[in-house]
Point group: C2
Chain length 293, copies 2
């Protein structure tokens, strides 16, 4: 299956020699694989069974890059990805937005009326809730979207359908029963590229930091003041459990400035003197639809 994908995914004329191996979560045909190819058009996407194996392979140097989703515009942050970034052993070196248009896939010859069961990743099922409620079928959560499609194809499962990318239909020889079935038409997911080498994929324009503030009233407010006072824009602020002490939080911030911007450098210096800890997760180019590379 991996070979089949690579043939479909790689632009014609790109040889095996010098290909960069980039890890993603899921089976061939996953939205994460599209994110890899948007950022690294000539890469070899390498499927992984979860986020942690990607981080492990990147940290160990088995992969030069990994690409993981961090946030969906409708559903919000992907907690597990933030927690793995918080280990601080890799750097964010780039980002990409992918339009997530879900389709309903089934064995060829199936009609919508034949479908009795629909499976997919829980987040994909949630994004298509209105459409699925209208079908009145049994809904089953599995680990990834393309994997749900593969299962139906491999098992020749009649009467079952998967919510996945239209590309997964091509890869696994399934029919597309419906397209664009997500509730919100503008359903984008933000992915980041990670690497053991902090060298960004282009000019530094956005910086992600992880912050632990003292457990006292106003501590976060004072920390944000060092950024606001220098007119630095926060494009993201996310609180996550500390992971050691229950009900204590750490904060993930994206600042719209490069690490070597004078204002950000001064803000980080002031912050470091005050907070419990501060980790720069990476400084990297902002995504533009034409690509950053």
């Amino acid at each position: 299956m991996v070979c089949r994908l690579r043939k479909l995914a790689r632009p014609r004329g790109v040889s095996d020699a010098g290909e960069t191996r980039v890890g993603y979560q899921g089976e061939p045909g996953a939205f994460s694989e599209e994110a890899v190819l948007a950022l690294f058009p000539e890469a070899e996407p390498v499927p992984h069974p979860g986020f942690q194996p990607i981080f492990d392979d990147v940290e160990a140097g088995h992969l030069r890059y990994g690409v993981v989703p961090v946030e969906n515009a409708q559903a919000g942050s992907i907690n597990e990805a933030y927690d793995l970034l918080g280990r601080g052993r890799v750097s964010i070196v780039g980002e990409v937005m992918v339009q997530v248009d879900h389709a309903l896939l089934a064995l060829p010859g199936t009609t919508l009326d034949d479908v009795r069961q629909v499976s997919s990743h829980p987040q994909a099922l949630a994004q298509c809730e209105e459409f699925l409620a209208g079908l009145g079928v049994e809904v089953v959560a599995v680990y990834d979207t393309a994997g749900a499609a593969k299962r139906i194809a491999d098992g020749r499962r009649a009467g079952e359908a998967a919510v996945a990318a239209p590309r997964a239909a091509e890869i696994y020889g399934l029919a597309v029963l419906a397209r664009g079935i997500q509730t919100h038409p503008d359903n984008q997911t933000r992915f980041v590229a990670i690497s053991a080498d902090p060298e960004p994929l282009g000019p530094e324009e956005r910086t992600s930091i992880l912050l632990g503030v003292r457990n006292e009233p106003g501590a976060l407010y004072r920390a944000l003041g060092h950024l606001a006072g220098r007119n630095l824009n926060l494009s993201k602020l996310e609180s996550r459990p500390d992971g050691r002490v229950p009900w204590r939080y750490r904060f993930y911030l994206d600042v719209d400035a490069g690490l070597h911007d004078g204002a950000l450098a001064a803000a980080l210096e002031a912050l470091r003197a005050e907070v419990e800890f501060l980790t720069v997760l990476g400084s990297y180019p902002r995504w533009r639809p034409q690509g950053v590379a």
Copy 2:
């Protein structure tokens, strides 16, 4: 099954007359049902297939209360619950913390070596990742923990196990193969009680608000200043996608003060003059292990 549960769950001597019906997500034996009984010891817990049906029933007056999880101390916020609270059609009237001790359940006579497949809610599987990795079994995501146990019992599924509460073993006649299998021993989940009537379950000590700030640098910082300047402690700050405009956020805040506390009242007045919108989601007693009622 519901009748059997109610007999197990209700303290002896409580009659059917005057019982309060309280909705929760999942099957009998779910951790959510424990949360219902911790807050409302004499209530009739009413199982629901998801969060949205609970909110629908509470908003329509079919249920006096609902109880939904909003955050796990390790895994973080439960996005869907926050989004439904954000509709602003019910009030938070109480909260409760439940210790989530997962167990591995299977048909009586099963040993750990017999287990080939383990199913549960994805969050429960994530909380037990280390234990499950050590077993080396196939892991399947389903919609809820107690439902996974019920499925094994109803289908007499040999060689399969569920991650669920030990109570689910009693209810469905399963054996407990292992207890306390979550990675973090102190694995608590915070639930809130919702009602169409904003009357809290006790004195107002904590207030949850939803805030939309203008999309300009420092807007959140200035908003938090109205609280920090009055020495009001934030026990929680959560950003969630706005739901209409991609990559715009709203903020959920828990403030450690009652709605009629003078400092909070003044802060809310100042905030209302400045932010895009502000909704008070509820003001309610803080949970204490002995109960709030």
